[in-house]
Symmetry: C2
Subunit: 346 residues, 2 copies
């Protein structure tokens, strides 16, 4: 599987000529090695020491990620709310779990989570392994009664045994291993080699003049890069831009985790890579389009600096706003390892 | 509502300067007038004489389009499978209706259906009005028992009465009127003013060099424009490109409607506008990404000319394929009238 993955990466990179190929990074974890698409930085990868990567874990994790049998009524998988066909997010404002029950926040993307430790909008999970435990039990998501139930379901599917053996050395099924495998698969779901990356690597024909102007605004007048920083367009930090803070009972985000006043209404800065694929936007899905998001920032958010501490009006022109959107569109790259499995263990 | 709509269109067009604004078309239907985004051609609009447009119908149709109470278990609306957050299509290979039952084909987009008479992948509905009748009763979609049941549900919601009165002159609820209103709303869901349209209108900074090369391939060597023709990138005709034709029991598409041998495996050419938003692709959702679609065509489809009569290998280079994808991405435009209603009649 990894062989195919690497070959795909090489094919995808070939149009970018020698210079780009030379600039591509590799992520290593034990004997495992993964060549990253153009534009991603291997030294920013976060892989817990307790869960080194290997091909078997990637393959097992992919099967588990897409397997609806891990939900109470066999209708919901990780991919239901983090769909490969929707930038590994969900087109609903919030997601529907078993019995069409709705969650409370917009599904964040799985893309490039390789470059992040803390997970969820409020960062309450220390890593992807911890994150993977949550939705399986959440009564409005996959609604399994307990982790023991999850283990029992996977054990009952005999065909999973050999996959655990390849991944972990023996076929013992545990919740820790299930989460480790899913997290390992998720770390391979990376996106890069966007028009922006190819432009950065020297191909001036990769971005339009409008997108180039937008890039300058992004780093300058529009002040986006303060939070949407570095190669993955996120500082992995928490900010209060005021979304929903004018509601009667606002979602206080990071505050619910830290109980620190400065975290009221703060949510994790999302990556902007492939952002055109993951509408709607904001932690509550309240903005339908990228232009609406740019307009939200332009007018200084909800217009109440007390409730929206981290932004202020930008005074952009209509052309500026259009150029910014075109730059955001130029962050759309190739996603590898995204095709659902052809079949599942029985 | 129309006032807001037109104002939005004007604001959106303003960055495109005078020349673009001058090139924009208008669609008229009785006293109703709708200014189209840049790049769309008003004289190609199809509005049945029996269902002239008016503001009231647009507003009523939008409410009905997004109202899940029109499905058997109150969980599914038109927007569930034709989501404004996913280019008015569905990120599933096929869509899930009530009780998570799966349909047989990938949901086609509602975008720019204004420019089409026949609807569905196989064109079995003569217009949007006829189309709107289908999913309401389809047992794996909205699963209402009969059209009388649909009418009864809408009648029971007293708040709909005044909306019917504004739209149709009196508050009588009929299935014909429900379908007419939904179709009228759908005709306002248009996309244009893409980077491509702005480039065509003289703004050379709107498209990247890569996308411009892709555009030339699109009309030349790659031969896309034969079927994906004209301003809406579709000839509204039916073609057999072989997708799924190597299966044991292939979906025969248009043949099921006409019983003409030449229609075996033929499906309607979809528009390519906003195509980056509507993954996965093909009538069965079998291709996950635009690059996969380009590669499918490049290798001549399923490799069996007998089963795939309308295409042949293209022999594109890797750079060609990348440029084609960048051109397809440049067809992403603004969508108006896409925000779900803030509240529903009670």
């Amino acid at each position: 599987m990894l062989r195919i993955f690497v070959v795909l990466l090489l094919i995808a990179a070939s149009p970018c000529l020698g210079r780009d190929a030379a600039a591509r990074d590799t992520v290593k974890s034990g004997a495992f090695s993964m060549t990253l698409p153009l534009g991603l930085q291997g030294d920013s990868a976060y892989i817990p020491e307790s869960n080194p990567m290997n091909e078997g874990k990637v393959e097992l994790g992919k099967l588990l990620y897409f397997d609806t049998r891990l939900s109470k009524d066999n209708t919901v998988s990780c991919a239901s709310c983090h769909s490969p066909y929707h930038g590994f997010a969900d087109p609903g404002k919030v997601s529907a779990g078993v019995g069409s029950q709705l969650g409370g926040r917009n599904s964040p993307t799985v893309l490039n989570r390789l470059f992040s430790a803390n997970q969820f909008w409020d960062g309450r999970a220390a890593d992807l392994e911890e994150q993977a435990h949550g939705p399986l039990l959440n009564p409005v998501e996959m609604a399994m009664g307990s982790h023991a139930d999850v283990v029992a379901v996977v054990k009952r599917i005999k065909g999973y045994g050999p996959h655990f053996a390849v991944a972990f050395g023996d076929d013992k099924v545990t919740m820790t291993r299930i989460a480790q495998a899913i997290a390992t698969y998720e770390r391979t779901v990376v996106t890069g080699n966007s028009a922006f990356d190819r432009y950065q690597a020297g191909d001036t024909s990769a971005m339009s003049g409008s997108a180039v102007r937008g890039m300058k605004l992004f780093h300058g007048k529009a002040n986006c890069a303060t939070c949407h920083a570095s190669f993955n367009f996120t500082d992995e930090n928490y900010r209060n831009i005021g979304v929903g803070m004018d509601k009667k009972k606002p979602d206080l985000g990071r505050y619910e985790v830290t109980k620190e006043d400065e975290d009221r209404g703060a949510f994790k800065t999302p990556t902007l890579r492939n952002i055109v694929q993951t509408a709607p936007y904001m932690h509550d899905g309240s903005e339908a389009t990228l232009m609406a998001v740019v307009e939200f920032y332009d007018k200084g958010g909800i217009g109440n600096p007390q409730l929206s501490s981290d932004i202020k009006p930008l005074h952009l022109s209509a052309v500026d706003r259009r150029d910014l959107v075109e730059f955001l569109r130029a962050l759309t790259g190739d996603v590898f390892n995204a095709d659902p499995p052809g079949s599942f263990p029985q």
